[in-house]
């Protein structure tokens, strides 16, 4: 039986033999790899070290080569061949991916879960060789709320829980009332939020902004900057397309200036240079200065995104609006912008995402949001040496926020997609 097989070019007529041989080789390779990396047993110990390391790849390669038969008639085999095993190059790539996954997974899983310590109150309770999640556990409140006084933390909780409730409500109320909820959310709620958090009235203790921090600060800055940068960006985009030269060139200058400089220098400007521009004695809170800086910075990017949408609309829309006797603002608010905004949902989402991802930068001017708090926690003399755990945790938090945002924007894009 073996005599009739050509190993260099597998043929269809001996399909089952080839599948059997290929599968055996492939399983052998995977088995070697798994026993090697999960159970520390090397079944090819008799070979030289380098050869033994690569035997799984070699076995897998032979296996994949033997089952690479075009139009075999076997449906499953065809699917496998088409997806991971088109030619020898692709076969090698497939094997490499599996190789890396199986080699890397145990180390990663051991570090993050099996050898890690989760509960406890001090560094000494981290006995495992893996990650010390006790660090996150102990510092959790600080990471979430910053240096906000412990007795007042309920205010942050109330503020954000009510925010989520109202946002949730906006999805469920009838379309007629939805308008009012959204107006409340955009124009009234931010001020309630800010007065609740900063206090100083209604019998609440005042909490200075330099005690704010943690993830709450990330959210506050993101929410306000997103809220303000959108209308500013819209005005700048309209200004850039205006026919009046003064307005056009000042918009261009403004946009290109902010787009040309890095955010870090903008923050430096807001924190050290801007106070020089105000009359002596006036004081603007650092947090407000930073929010203004981030707003203007992102508004310039937003303006370019919106301009893209405006340019994508056909001229006929403008002409049609004008022929109905609409003036400039009516034309833009009722005809142009609703269509343009729909086109640029991905761009808007990207700008918002960039804004959220830029917030950690404020640590260079001394405001400590999530990343800044981790920076502070890891330099605490009692907790030296847990940088990796802290950054992995922060990375996970940001990843969840950003991934959720991008997924939501993709949903919106699908929802408002209209054929043109």
């Amino acid at each position: 039986m073996i005599g009739n097989l050509t190993f260099l070019k597998p043929r269809r007529d001996k399909l089952n033999t080839y599948i059997f041989l290929g599968a055996t080789f492939f399983t052998l390779g995977i088995f070697d790899l798994i026993s090697n990396s999960f159970f520390d047993k090397n079944i090819t110990f008799f070979l030289p070290e380098i050869l033994s390391f690569f035997t799984p790849l070699l076995f897998g390669f032979i296996g994949l080569h033997l089952i690479r038969i075009e139009y075999s008639g076997n449906k499953n085999l065809d699917i496998i061949n088409k997806n991971i095993n088109i030619n020898w190059f692709n076969g090698i790539l497939t094997l490499l991916v599996i190789f890396v996954l199986i080699k890397g997974m145990p180390t990663l899983l051991n570090w993050a879960f099996f050898d890690a310590n989760f509960s406890g109150t001090s560094k000494e309770e981290c006995t495992g060789s893996g990650a010390c999640w006790v660090f996150i556990n102990v510092w959790f409140e600080r990471l979430m709320y910053g240096l906000y006084p412990n007795d007042e933390i309920w205010r942050i909780n109330v503020a954000f829980i009510s925010l989520f409730l109202i946002v949730g409500a906006a999805f469920f109320v009838s379309p007629k009332n939805k308008k009012y909820v959204i107006i409340f959310l955009l124009f009234i709620f931010p001020f309630i939020l800010i007065s609740l958090l900063s206090g100083g009235n209604f019998g609440l203790n005042k909490v200075p902004t330099n005690e704010w921090g943690g993830l709450a600060l990330t959210f506050i800055i993101s929410i306000f900057a997103i809220l303000f940068c959108f209308p500013v960006g819209m005005l700048l985009a309209l200004g850039r397309r205006s026919s009046a030269p003064v307005i056009r060139y000042s918009s261009i200058g403004f946009i290109e200036f902010w787009r040309g400089v890095p955010l870090i220098t903008v923050l430096f400007m807001a924190s050290v240079m801007f106070p020089m521009f105000l009359p002596d004695g006036t004081f603007l809170d650092k947090l407000i200065r930073v929010i203004i800086a981030i707003t203007l910075f992102e508004a310039a990017y937003m303006a370019e995104v919106i301009r893209g949408g405006l340019q994508a609309l056909p001229r006929g829309q403008y002409d049609a609006g004008k022929s109905l006797g609409m003036n400039y603002w009516k034309l833009h608010l009722l005809v142009i912008l609703p269509q343009a905004l729909k086109l640029i949902i991905p761009g808007i989402a990207n700008t918002f995402l960039a804004l959220v991802k830029d917030t950690p930068l404020i640590l260079v001017v001394g405001l400590l949001e999530l990343v800044g708090m981790i920076d502070m926690a890891k330099t605490n003399p009692k907790w030296l040496g847990f940088a990796a755990e802290g950054y992995v945790f922060a990375g996970l938090v940001f990843w969840i926020i950003c991934y959720a945002m991008s997924r939501y924007s993709q949903n919106l894009e699908q929802k408002y997609k209209t054929d043109r």
């Binding site: 497939t94 240079m273 020089m276 260079v364 990843w399």
Partner: protein, 398 residues
């Protein structure tokens, strides 16, 4: 009601006077800008007067009297602030160029992988993009610097690459190249490049005139190998290496001396910048290749081009037109993001100039404006170059 009446009244009033309607908003804008700028300048003057600071750039010639850890040109504390600025600028350019180089390579590989028919590969590329794109860059820089690179061994137990290169917590030490008669080699390489250029030009003209094809690729490969060889032999070019060696500084402290030491800050920054930007470049590449219509490939196949020729002559020239503008944007972003170096104390422009120099001189306005202007100039230079390139490869309509 009254406000509405007033608003429509003003509207009607302006509608009757088209010239006023045209110029009034502009005049108001201009007035507003001048007013804000004037107000700021006035306040700044008063404030600086109160603190006894005189606006000016004379401080650039003063002695800086601070040290910089890593510098491409000669520098120590006795040089001026102007020199310190230059050191910072060069360090910024260095990390940007390194970052752009690796981000492009990685981005193209990942972008093509995402379109791979191999399910595992495209999934792998997608996961990579989704992970690295959605984590703030600053966090990634911190991770590489404070968590990953800090876990490297001390110089005494350095990770050894064939006894010529060592990776330690204090950086990566690689051998230094010491050339003799380097100019011969350089000029022979330049000659080879000129030769290749001429060959391609000649081959193209010949093919257009007669239809005859010349194996330009192999000729240029030959030129590229033969000419430098000739240069090396004729010019007596020599190459020797200076290897890093471990020396004992005190009883317990060891370090490497000699060779080239790449500081961990540079490694962390370049690594984070390229991994982060590569995800965006990958998306540009993917969009570009997907943007070339299927019909183009079918047409190319139907006139008998091989798959390689199709990719080289039909798909890539069209895809590049889509890829280049957004990729330029990513290069710009990378250059601007390199300013995050300040957070891990890599001595770039922001740390050296807007950090240390500003603390010492207290000249916030001058130094922040110089820094911003520098970045603006860099941005404009890159975008001008890319616009020029973009125009060069744009479709030439007849």
């Amino acid at each position: 009601m009254k406000i509405k009446n007033l608003a429509s009244g003003i509207g009607d009033f302006l509608d009757d006077r088209p010239r006023l309607k045209r110029y009034l908003p502009q005049a108001l804008t201009l007035f507003f800008i001048v007013f804000v700028l004037g107000y700021f300048t006035f306040n700044a003057q008063v404030n600086m007067g109160n603190r006894g600071i005189v606006f000016g750039f004379g401080f650039l010639q003063q002695e800086a009297s601070f040290d910089i850890q890593f510098s491409l040109i000669d520098y120590d504390g006795s040089y001026s602030y102007g020199r310190a600025y230059l050191v910072g600028l060069l360090n910024t350019i260095l990390v940007s160029v390194v970052g752009i180089f690796f981000a492009t390579i990685l981005g193209v590989i990942i972008g093509i992988s995402r379109l791979s028919p191999n399910y595992l590969i495209s999934k792998f590329a997608e996961i990579y993009v989704e992970i690295f794109r959605n984590i703030p860059l600053l966090l990634q820089i911190f991770f590489w610097y404070f968590a990953a690179l800090r876990a490297l061994p001390l110089p005494k137990e350095a990770i050894n690459f064939f006894d010529i290169s060592y990776l330690t917590v204090k950086g990566w030490f690689i051998p230094k190249f010491i050339w003799t008669n380097f100019s011969f080699l350089l000029s022979s390489i330049l000659l080879a490049i000129v030769g290749i250029f001429l060959t391609y030009n000649y081959a193209k003209r010949k093919q257009e005139a007669t239809g005859q094809r010349i194996p330009a690729f192999f000729i240029s490969l030959g030129l590229l190998i033969a000419l430098p060889f000739l240069g090396v032999f004729l010019g007596n070019v020599g190459l020797s290496f200076e290897y890093p060696t471990l020396i004992q500084q005190t009883t317990t402290i060891y370090n490497f001396k000699g060779g080239v030491g790449i500081i961990p800050e540079l490694i962390a920054l370049a690594l984070a910048l390229s991994l982060y930007t590569a995800t965006f470049i990958a998306e540009c590449v993917r969009a570009g290749i997907m943007g070339v219509g299927k019909g183009q490939k079918e047409a190319a196949a139907s006139i008998g081009l091989t798959p390689g020729q199709t990719l080289r002559l039909v798909v890539m020239p069209q895809a590049l037109r889509i890829i280049i503008p957004p990729t330029t944007n990513q290069y710009l972003n990378l250059t601007k993001n390199s300013s995050l170096a300040a957070a891990i104390a890599y001595p770039d422009l922001v740390l050296v100039f807007a950090g240390t120099a500003m603390m010492q001189t207290g000249r916030a306005i001058e130094i922040v404006s110089i820094t911003m202007l520098t970045y603006l100039t860099l941005s404009i230079l890159i975008s001008m170059f890319m616009n020029w390139y973009n125009k060069k490869i744009a479709i030439k309509e007849k």
